[in-house]
């Protein structure tokens, strides 16, 4: 009996520690400085430049991820060809790659002395130290989150529905837009929210491949690091930008949960958040 009580207490204590450990840093971001001061910091040029750059590079990078990743995921999900498993593994590899490795890889491939460096400079394209480099770094690390989820979403579409569409006179393209896309859209939305969140927080590969130039390549995470590290009064600014990122990330997480939960006009659950999912 007392053993059971002890066990219960231990489980409860462990849960409290875990929850507190995870929540405290987030609370601290908001609690350290007064809200008025946090908001006030948001108008400083470093912050606005970083915010604009983060948004701009995120939107462009995610547009590219959707545009290229969707057909690729569809192909990998619906066709069987030799080397398919290998292709899936390669697509997913950046998920587990340390960001520093991603940065080195991007430099080695597209940098001035990289594999494609000669070709690119011959074409008059300079990537290093431009916001294009940020886009590439963000797309590289975040794309696999989307593609992986998109493959799963396309694979889940009932083959009979696809066959029905074809026998009803719809070719492959029409079937893709009228059957695959609508039925996979929840999975696609979930994957894209994950990719967006990962891309927004991208740090390591960006700082190595694109550098940290205010207004050119300095995104919010890079600006936080720089303010904190190199400016005596930068901590408050770093806190303000962190608070901003917490809010945006939280919104993305909610959007993700909604995307996963939501079914067109069939609410199986009235709860926004699935219990422990």
């Amino acid at each position: 009996m007392s053993r059971r009580v002890l066990g219960g207490v231990a489980v409860f204590a462990a849960s409290a520690v875990a929850l507190g450990f995870l929540i405290l840093p987030i609370v601290a971001v908001f609690a350290r400085v007064s809200p008025g001061k946090l908001v006030g910091q948001l108008s400083s040029p470093v912050v606005t430049d970083a915010l604009v750059l983060s948004l701009k590079t995120s939107v462009v990078a995610q547009a590219l991820v959707l545009l290229v990743g969707t057909p690729a995921a569809y192909l990998l999900a619906t066709r069987r060809f030799p080397g398919r498993s290998l292709a899936v593994v390669l697509v997913e590899l950046p998920l587990v790659l340390p960001p520093a490795v991603a940065g080195i890889g991007l430099i080695a491939a597209f940098g001035r002395y990289g594999l494609l460096g000669g070709t690119l400079s011959f074409l008059g394209i300079r990537i290093g130290l431009t916001w294009g480099a940020v886009v590439m770094a963000v797309a590289f690390v975040s794309g696999p989150f989307y593609v992986r989820q998109a493959i799963a979403a396309f694979e889940e579409v009932d083959p009979d529905l696809v066959a029905a569409s074809r026998t009803l006179g719809a070719g492959r393209a029409r079937t893709f837009f009228r059957v695959y896309l609508p039925l996979a859209r929840r999975g696609l939305a979930a994957g894209e929210s994950l990719a967006f969140a990962r891309g927004l927080g991208e740090f390591g590969a960006t700082i190595m491949f694109a550098g940290s130039l205010q207004g050119v390549t300095q995104t919010l995470p890079l600006a936080i690091y720089q303010e904190f590290n190199f400016f005596p009064n930068g901590f408050t600014k770093a806190l303000a930008m962190s608070a901003l990122l917490v809010v945006v990330s939280g919104a993305l997480l909610i959007a993700l949960k909604v995307a996963l939960q939501w079914q067109p006009s069939t609410r199986t659950s009235r709860f926004l958040f699935a219990p422990s999912s």
Binding site: D158, D160, L161, A163, A164, S165, R166, T167, L168, G169, A170, G171, R178, V179, P182, L183, P264, S265, T266
Partner: protein
């Protein structure tokens, strides 16, 4: 009337599906699950590519045509209605912009036009699936287990409706089912498909009257008893059953045979008076199960299933465990190779 010709080979996992078939009225392919029935429909619809031969309609080859270019109306086993589209949009999917109100009305689903598939009953889903397939204006109709997804009560009703519809349409129709009763009720001709090959093909009555082998016989619902045949006198063949009884048939055979007798040709009695009965064959046995189906009762007597009216069953006071005599005529007893 148009004729669909299918003549092809399709390698499947465990065996090769090999088929040569002309369809101009309604043809049913029956067989156990895994016999390759659905694969036949998939080849005709262009969803699977045969290794030899192909499909043609009135002599015009469909080989190499993708599914969307073949004029088939395909009703899938679980109906495959698009879950994200309302009934109207489902039906309009293949209608190439033609209005579908007439089709909805004809199938009695106009009031469901704005419903989502998941809100429909099994019977309603089936009608939507049929309406959708026909709104495409197909030249050929393919039905995969059209009644399997329905409960027993709905099934009888829908079977009747479907039989009428198929007659009115006059399209070459190929349907597959594992249920011989459904096949016999819906089709003009029935083919028994086992492991990718047609065992027998003909009108349903012929399959029952002259089953080619033991499998076809038992699949069409007959009792199948094993025995050893020997030519006897008077044009009768004597068969000694595994249980020891002797039965007689007008079919000629010798050696190991299957004795085929349909349940509706078996009479059941509590006592047996040989002199007062024209039926030559008698099997005595314990009453096993009694299953009531509508106004009939299926009685198991020893190794035989008999079908009697509910009134007779009541009059005979048949009860499980009691002894009864199953009698059947030599003329209703067929002998088939095992």
């Amino acid at each position: 009337m148009a004729t669909l010709n299918a003549d092809f080979t399709l390698p499947l996992r465990a065996f090769e599906l090999e088929l040569a078939l002309d369809v101009s009225k309604t043809v049913a392919l029956v067989g156990p699950s895994g016999a390759g029935k659905t694969s036949v429909l998939r080849v005709i619809a262009g969803l699977a590519q045969p290794s030899r031969g192909g499909v043609s309609l009135d002599g015009e080859s469909w080989n190499g045509l993708p599914p969307e270019a073949r004029r088939v109306g395909f009703v899938f086993q679980d109906y495959a209605l698009f879950p994200h589209l309302r009934v109207r949009a489902n039906v309009a999917y293949g209608a190439a912009g033609r209005p579908v109100d007439d089709v909805l009305t004809r199938f009695g689903i106009a009031h469901l036009a704005e419903a989502h598939p998941r809100e429909l009953s099994g019977g309603e889903r089936q009608r939507v699936a049929l309406a959708r397939a026909l709104a495409r204006d197909p030249a050929v109709l393919l039905l995969d287990e059209p009644l399997a997804a329905l409960d027993a009560h709905t099934k009888t009703e829908v079977r009747h409706e479907l039989a009428e519809l198929l007659r009115d349409l006059g399209l070459p129709t190929l349907l597959v089912t594992h249920d011989y009763e459904d096949a016999a009720a819906l089709a003009d001709e029935v083919g028994v498909l086992v492991e990718g090959k047609l065992r027998q093909f003909g009108p349903p009555a012929e399959l029952v009257a002259r089953p080619r082998d033991a499998f076809v016989a038992s699949f069409t619902g007959a009792n199948l008893l094993r025995g050893r045949a020997q030519p006897g006198g008077g044009g009768l063949t004597t068969v000694r059953l595994e249980g020891g009884e002797e039965v007689f048939s007008v079919d000629e055979a010798e050696g190991e045979v299957g004795v085929v007798v349909y349940p509706w040709e078996v009479a059941v009695a509590r006592a047996h008076e040989p002199d007062a009965d024209s039926a030559l064959n008698v099997v005595r046995g314990e009453v096993g199960s009694l299953v009531e189906i509508a106004n009939r009762v299926r009685v198991r007597v020893g190794p035989l299933t008999a079908e009697v009216t509910a009134a007779s069953a009541a009059r005979l006071e048949l009860a499980r465990g009691g002894v009864a005599y199953a009698t059947f005529k030599a003329t209703g007893t067929r002998l088939v190779p095992l």
